[in-house]
């Protein structure tokens, strides 16, 4: 089981967290990560509107959930408040949704309950990173 990296986007589409969990991954420049986040936010907004079916997810729901290529699989999970968690994993990776749920839980615990975190701002919470790595690393 290999989780490659994690991105967290705030509700305005700004990148607030990025971390790789594997050695030797190709790195983007920090500016490119911001562009990637903003672009994905836009694409997600479009995909949630172009569905020909009505009443998809009660209006606000829907949208892009999985992006697959032969090298990776990207899973997007959007919370009810509009925060997006993007997980990049290997293509044959099972149960990514379980991982995303757990990451969301860690976010709710170690980011939202931290009095020094300002909402919608980049995440610099040492306890969050520590617990994130402790959760993902043993699975690699």
């Amino acid at each position: 089981m290999v989780i490659l990296s994690l991105l967290i986007l705030n509700k305005a589409g700004g990148l607030i967290f990025q971390r790789d969990f594997n050695e030797g991954l190709k790195k983007l420049s920090s500016n490119d990560y911001l562009v990637l986040a903003g672009t994905f936010h836009g694409v997600h907004a479009i995909t949630s509107r172009i569905s020909p079916l009505r009443d998809l997810g009660g209006g606000g729901g829907g949208g892009l959930e999985v992006l697959e290529s032969d090298k990776f699989r990207m899973q997007c999970f959007q919370t009810l408040t509009g925060t997006k968690f993007l997980i990049f994993a290997e293509p044959n990776q099972p149960n990514v949704d379980v991982v995303v749920r757990r990451v969301y839980e860690l976010y709710a615990d170690y980011v939202m309950k931290n009095p020094f975190y300002q909402i919608e701002m980049p995440i610099r919470c040492e306890a969050f990173e520590r617990n994130l790595v402790a959760y993902i690393k043993p699975k690699q």
């Binding site: 170690y110 009095p115 020094f116 610099r124 306890a127 520590r130």
Partner: protein, 239 residues
């Protein structure tokens, strides 16, 4: 239903907001009134007319609280204090004061609960044992992880907590690295010591290690009077 009648009355012009409806003011009961009557039972005023003050003090002895709600409350306390101070030392002092007022009340309750087995501690080791076991267990449901005497200073003791509960969700930003929010717990300890006539200063210090990144040491520095009394007690015991 008085309010329903007034809505159906042909003399009252329709308005989506009932509070700005014309008509006699008494015909529409204020919203506040209806709310308070529907939620008549709460912590302070229960339906059985027994308030929280009427309950037996032992009733909540073994009950537990939600850690999440405490984390949110404590987080708000830290944020509130942070807005009203300048500097980290000031913030720690404020948290210490919050804890102090809790410790004063807690000591009274714990001694009352011990009943006949309660005794007045006169020796430093005795009171520190009381804190590491009884006080710690009653707040955090576990004893403290260690108690040490300072090698350099006669009047200093160290109480060790490997993972303070109040800090479990808190990550202190790098520019405030001296801050340890367990100053709140230090305040509780200080109040208990003060209440038992062992005046001193208690401060919280982060001592992170590889395995225990949240390890905290509470440095207890007793007043000279305490050390003096202790030495007298040692001498009389030896005689």
């Amino acid at each position: 239903m008085q309010r329903g009648d007034s809505l159906n009355s042909p003399f009252v012009p329709f308005s989506p907001n009932p509070s700005i409806q014309q008509g006699t003011p008494t015909s529409t009961p204020p919203l506040k009134h209806t709310l308070s009557s529907s939620t008549s039972s709460n912590l302070r005023y229960s339906s059985s007319r027994k308030s929280i003050y009427d309950r037996h003090l032992n009733r909540s002895q073994r009950s537990e609280l939600s850690k999440a709600s405490f984390a949110f409350l404590f987080g708000e306390m830290v944020q509130y204090a942070q807005k009203r101070v300048n500097g980290i030392a000031d913030l720690e002092k404020k948290l210490n004061l919050h804890g102090y007022s809790i410790g004063q009340r807690l000591l009274e309750l714990l001694l009352w609960r011990e009943g006949r087995s309660a005794k007045r501690e006169t020796r430093i080791l005795g009171i520190l044992q009381f804190i590491t076991t009884t006080v710690y267990r009653s707040i955090f449901n576990k004893p403290a992880d260690g108690l040490e005497k300072s090698r350099d200073n006669e009047d200093e003791y160290m109480l060790i907590d490997n993972d303070p509960m109040v800090n479990s969700y808190i990550s202190v930003p790098k520019e405030m690295s001296q801050l340890n929010c367990a100053a709140f717990v230090a305040g509780i300890i200080e109040a208990v010591l003060d209440g038992c006539l062992f005046p001193g200063r208690v401060t919280a210090h982060s001592v992170p290690t590889e395995q225990l990144p949240a390890k905290t040491v509470f440095l207890i520095k007793f007043d000279d009077s305490v050390i003096e009394r202790e030495s007298v007690l040692v001498v009389t015991r030896a005689l």
